[in-house]
Symmetry: C2
Subunit: 112 residues, 2 copies
């Protein structure tokens, strides 16, 4: 029940979250997973079955690009954001802010 809520919340903001993590510096999947979990205080547990297909999708949309590399330890697929990805991120951040404001105004004083 409560889990389902988070699942749906993710749908609109997951691209945004992953893009913003990758935008900082190159990341690989498992690290992104940990970063988001940490940043959310353990609230957002991003399953591998969600994360990897998502990364593939973002790459197919040319928002990120990848290369395999073993020189920093284990064999990992590193992702970095593209110029197109940066543009998209900017747009989505603005949309998120507007949207969040709209929801806040609707729920009004109900915050408890």
């Amino acid at each position: 029940m409560s889990e389902k809520f988070q699942r749906d919340l993710l749908r609109g903001s997951l691209d945004l979250m992953v893009l913003s993590v990758v935008a900082g510096e190159p990341q690989y999947g498992y690290l992104i997973q940990k970063r988001i979990n940490l940043a959310s205080d353990g609230q957002v547990k991003l399953p591998a079955g969600t994360l990897y297909p998502l990364l593939h999708r973002l790459e197919s949309e040319k928002l990120i690009r990848s290369k395999w590399d073993s020189s920093t330890g284990r064999k990992r697929k590193w992702y970095e954001i593209t110029a197109k990805g940066k543009k998209r991120l900017t747009v989505q951040v603005n949309q998120w802010n507007q949207y969040a404001e709209c929801v806040s105004s609707l729920i009004g004083g109900l915050t408890s």
Copy 2:
């Protein structure tokens, strides 16, 4: 493209928005649609094909209840929130606030 983003954003927050609108005073579908559109400054255009199935779902979950009434003009289906709906609303408002804070922290200074 941009529309798709809003579509997914809705998934996690639409129940919440509709419940919070109905929580104020009894509403009928078409009015809810207008209220949300207005509150979002025209950004959220809730299609009828989204709204009515949603209302049916909320009613089947006993979060709202309905009755037909013509005394205030045209024949309309009025919805009011139930006790169960109020409880759910409280929970979802809290979840939304936590989640929004999490996303904000991830996107950090990127706000433009």
